[in-house]
C-alpha cells in the first residue's frame, strides 16, 4: 500500500479527545523529598543514631549542668581542692559511689585511731573500708615488735574533720545563732596544745595522747580519754549554744586571741553554715577548687558554640571562595588555588600563636582565636565546593539559565550551590569535632588561655587535672571522658550523615 504522508487531507484528522486535557498519570506512591530520603537512610545507621542521641545528651548537659550545680564557675573553694566526687545523700547510703572516697596506702594504727576519733567527735565516719592489712615485724630496742599497716579507703570530705579558725566576736556570735536555729554543731570544745603533748598542728586530736606523734592514751575499755580544755580563764567569748554530750558546762569553746577568738570548728558543718548546703561535687573539684560538674558544662558550652561558629564562618567563606574558583576556573582558579595552598601549609599552631601575640591584646583572646581558626579552616570547604562546581557548571540547565540571562552570582548560588549543599553541610558537621579537638589541645598546652573569657575550658581543666593525676585522677578523668565522648559521637554522627546524604549509597543497604 502506497502512502502519502505528506499530503494527508485535513478531514482525515480527528481529535483523540476533546472533553479533557491529557495528564500524566499520578503516582500512587507518596513523593519522598531529598531530606526525607536522607533521614530514612540515616535512621538505618544504628551507631549514628546512638551517636546523635549521645550528642543531644551532651549538649543538654552543657546547658543544664552549670544551672543545676549549686556552684558557679567563680566559686573557688580554698579547702576542697582536687577532692573526689561526693554527694552527701548518696554517701550516706553507703553504696560505694559519690562517697568522696580515696585510697590511702600504708596507714598506721595511730592514723586509724585518728579516723575513729574524728568519727566519734563529729559523728561522720571517714573510714569507708580497710582494703588490705599488712603485718611487718621490726626490731625496736632489741625487741621484735609487730607493726600493722593498712591500705584504707577513706572519705576525704570527712577526714577533714576539725579545723582551727580565728573568728571575730561577731562571727562567733553568728555561728552560735546558726547552731541554735538548726541544731548543727559547728564549734567544738577547745583543746589546748599543752594538754596533748604540745601538738598544735592537728586540730582533730581531742583526746589524751602519750607522745607528740599523736598516739592516743586509751582507757581500759579502749575508749579515748577527753582532753578538752576547762580553763575558764582563757576562754575567748561567751558560749551559749549547743554543747557536746557529756559536757557539764565546764568545757571552753574558744580562746581569746588578740581581739578575736580562736576555736575548733567542724569544717564540714561550717561549710553548710557558709553556703547553706552540704558540699555536693558530682564530678569532684579541680586543682583551683572549682566544681568540675559546673566547669565541664561551662567549658563544653564554649567549645560547642565556638565550634559551630567557626564551622559556620568557614562554610560561608569556603563556599564563596570555592564557588568563585570552580565557576570561573582558569587563571582565577590557579591564582586562588596557590593562595589556598600557601595558607594551607602554615602550621595551625603557628597561626594561633602569632594571632595570640598580635591580635589578642587588641581584640581579645576569643576573637583572635576565632580568626586563627578561620584563616586556614575554610580551605577544605573551598576545595569541596570547587569540586562540586566543576561537576555541575557544564550541565545543560546552567547553559539554559545563562541563555535566559541570569547573572553569574545567580547561577552560582541559586542554581549550582543547592546541589552541593548536602555534601557541604555534612562536611561541616565533621569540621566541628576537629575544631573542638584543636581548641582543647591549644588550651591544654596553655598557648591560648580562655579562663578570663569563658571561666575555663575543657583543655584547661585537663591540664589542671594532669598536674595532680596520681592523687586525684578524677580531675583528669571527667573532662577527658567528656571530650572523648563528644569527639567520638560527632565523628560517628558526621559519618552517618555523610553516608545518608550521599545519593550513591542510596538503596545499597536495602
Amino acid at each position: 500500500m502506497e502512502e502519502n504522508y505528506e499530503r494527508i487531507p485535513q478531514e482525515k484528522f480527528e481529535f483523540v479527545q476533546t472533553d479533557e486535557r491529557i495528564h500524566d498519570k499520578k503516582f500512587d506512591t507518596k513523593a519522598r523529598g531529598y531530606l526525607a530520603d536522607a533521614f530514612i537512610r540515616f535512621k538505618k545507621n544504628k551507631s549514628s543514631v546512638v551517636a546523635a542521641i549521645i550528642i543531644l545528651c551532651l549538649i543538654i548537659f552543657a546547658i543544664v549542668a552549670p544551672i543545676i550545680s549549686p556552684y558557679n564557675i567563680n566559686d573557688k573553694d580554698k579547702i576542697f581542692i582536687n577532692y573526689p566526687p561526693f554527694i552527701e545523700e548518696v554517701a550516706n547510703a553507703n553504696i560505694g559511689i559519690y562517697d568522696g572516697g580515696v585510697t590511702y596506702d600504708s596507714q598506721n594504727e595511730t592514723q586509724l585511731l585518728l579516723f575513729r576519733a574524728i568519727a566519734e567527735e563529729s559523728g561522720r565516719n571517714p573510714l569507708l573500708s580497710i582494703l588490705e592489712t599488712y603485718e611487718k615485724e621490726t626490731v625496736k630496742r632489741g625487741q621484735v615488735v609487730k607493726v600493722m599497716s593498712y591500705k584504707v579507703r577513706v572519705n576525704r570530705y570527712y577526714t577533714l574533720g576539725i579545723k582551727y579558725m580565728t573568728l571575730s566576736y561577731e562571727a562567733f556570735e553568728e555561728i552560735q545563732k546558726y547552731q541554735n536555729e538548726t541544731g548543727i554543731q559547728v564549734i567544738y570544745p577547745y583543746v589546748e596544745a599543752k594538754d596533748i603533748e604540745g601538738i598544735s598542728d592537728n586540730p582533730n586530736i581531742w583526746y589524751k595522747v602519750s607522745d607528740n606523734k599523736g598516739t592516743p592514751k586509751l582507757d581500759k575499755d579502749g575508749n579515748f580519754i577527753r582532753a578538752y580544755s576547762t580553763s575558764a580563764s582563757k576562754a575567748g567569748a561567751e558560749y551559749n549554744s549547743i554543747r557536746i554530750e557529756g559536757d557539764d558546762g565546764s568545757y571552753i569553746y574558744s580562746i581569746a586571741k588578740s581581739g578575736a577568738v580562736q576555736c575548733r570548728i567542724d569544717y564540714y558543718n561550717y561549710y553548710k553554715y557558709v553556703t547553706g548546703h552540704a558540699p555536693m561535687f558530682i564530678f569532684g573539684t579541680n586543682s583551683i577548687g572549682q566544681d568540675l560538674f559546673c566547669a565541664i558544662g561551662i567549658g563544653a558550652r564554649f567549645s560547642l558554640v565556638f565550634a559551630i561558629l567557626v564551622s559556620a564562618i568557614n562554610l560561608t567563606i569556603g563556599a564563596v571562595y570555592g564557588a568563585v574558583q570552580g565557576y570561573y576556573g582558569g587563571a582565577v582558579d590557579l591564582i586562588l588555588d596557590r593562595i589556598a595552598d600557601i595558607l594551607y601549609e602554615v602550621p595551625f599552631i603557628v597561626v594561633s600563636t602569632l594571632f595570640q601575640l598580635h591580635l589578642a591584646p587588641k581584640v581579645g583572646v576569643v576573637p583572635s582565636f576565632l580568626f586563627a581558626f578561620v584563616l586556614t579552616g575554610w580551605i577544605g570547604m573551598a576545595a569541596l565546593t570547587r569540586k562540586q562546581f566543576y561537576r555541575f557548571k557544564g550541565q545543560e540547565y546552567i547553559l539554559a539559565a545563562k541563555t535566559l540571562g541570569a547573572r553569574d552570582s545567580r547561577i552560582m548560588f541559586k542554581h549550582i550551590f543547592p546541589n552541593a549543599l548536602g555534601t557541604i553541610i555534612t562536611s561541616c558537621v565533621l569540621v566541628i569535632p576537629g575544631v573542638i579537638g584543636s581548641e582543647t589541645t591549644l588550651t591544654y598546652l596553655g598557648i591560648v588561655n580562655l579562663s578570663e573569657f569563658a571561666g575555663t575550658s575543657i583543655g584547661t581543666l585537663m591540664s589542671q587535672g594532669q598536674a595532680a593525676m596520681t592523687t586525684s585522677p578524677h580531675a583528669m578523668f571527667y573532662p577527658a571522658l567528656f571530650v572523648s565522648l563528644l569527639l567520638i559521637t560527632f565523628n560517628l554522627f558526621g559519618n552517618g550523615l555523610r553516608d545518608a546524604f550521599n545519593p550513591s549509597t542510596r538503596g545499597v543497604e536495602d
Binding site: 601549609e345 598580635h358 589541645t441
Partner: protein, 317 residues
Amino acid sequence: MLKYTLQRILLMFFTLFIITLMCFVLVRMLPPVELPIEDPHTVVIAQRREAMGYNKPYLVQFGIFLKDVFTKFDWGISDVLYFGQPVADIFLEKLPATCIVNFYSIILSIPIGILFGIVAALKKNTWIDHTISTLTMVVISVPSFVYAFLIQYFLSFKLGWFPFLMKAGTDWFSPEMFVSMLPAVMSLSFGVIAGFTRTTRAELTEVLTSEFMLLARTKGLTRAQATVRHAFKNCMVVVVPAIFGEFIGIMGGSIIIEKIFSVPGVGNLYINSINGRDYAMFMMLTVFYTVIGLVASIIVDISYGFIDPRIRMGSKK
C-alpha cells in the same frame, strides 16, 4: 614526571619563602623581650640584636636573617630560654630525642596498622571487621593526650611498669632509656595505627571489589593468590606514600606527647619558646615545622608517581 617534580619543588620553596617572610615580619613586629640589666650576657645580646638589624626596616632585617641562615646557619640567639646560646645548637641538641621516640612509634605502628587493615578488609562485614572499624573510629576521634593520661595513670602509676617521665640523659639506646620511652611511644602509636588501619582497609576493600580481581579469579588464581599478587600491590599505591609521609613527619613529632612525658625534644622546646616568648627559637622552629609539613606532602605526592605508573603524570592534579 621530572617536570612535575621540579614544579612541585619550586612551588614548595616559594611557599616556604612566603610563610617565612610573613612569620618573620609578624614576629619582629612584636616588642623584643626586655633583657635583665645586670646580666653580663645582656651586652652581647644587645649587640647581636643590633647586628641583626633590630632597628632597621623589616625587609632589611629579613635580608640579614636569610643571609645569616644561608651563610652560617645562624638562626639567632635565644634571649629567654637559653640565655645567649645560639638557637640552632639547642635545636640540634633536642632533635635526636624527638626523632628516636617517633621512630620507635612508627616502627611499632605501621606493621600493626597495615595488618589490622588487611584483616578488616578480608573479613569485611564480619564481627572482626566491625570491631576493628569501630575501634579505629574511636581511636582516631580521641585526642592523643587522653591516651597519654590513660597510659600514664594505669601503666606507669597503678601498675608501675614504666617510669612516669622519660629518663633524662643522652644515652639514647640504653635499655632503661628504651623502657622510659615506651609510654610516649605507645601514646603516639595509637593514632598512627588507627590511621593506617583505616587507609589500608578502605583501599583494600575497594581493590578487592574491582573487576580485575574477578578476572584474576576467573583465569584460575586462588583467592589467596589473587589477593597477594593483585590486591595488595594496588592497595600499596596509597599506603606506601603514606608511610613515606609519616617518616618525614616523625621529625615533627607530637608536641603534646612530648610535653606530657617530658621528652627533651623539639616539641617541648617549641611550647617553651611560645610560653616563654623566645622569638628567635620560635622563628626557627616555625620554619622547621613548615618544612616538615611541606616535604612530607611533596614526598607523598611524588611517590605516588614512582609507585604507580598510571599516576605518573606531567599534568597537575
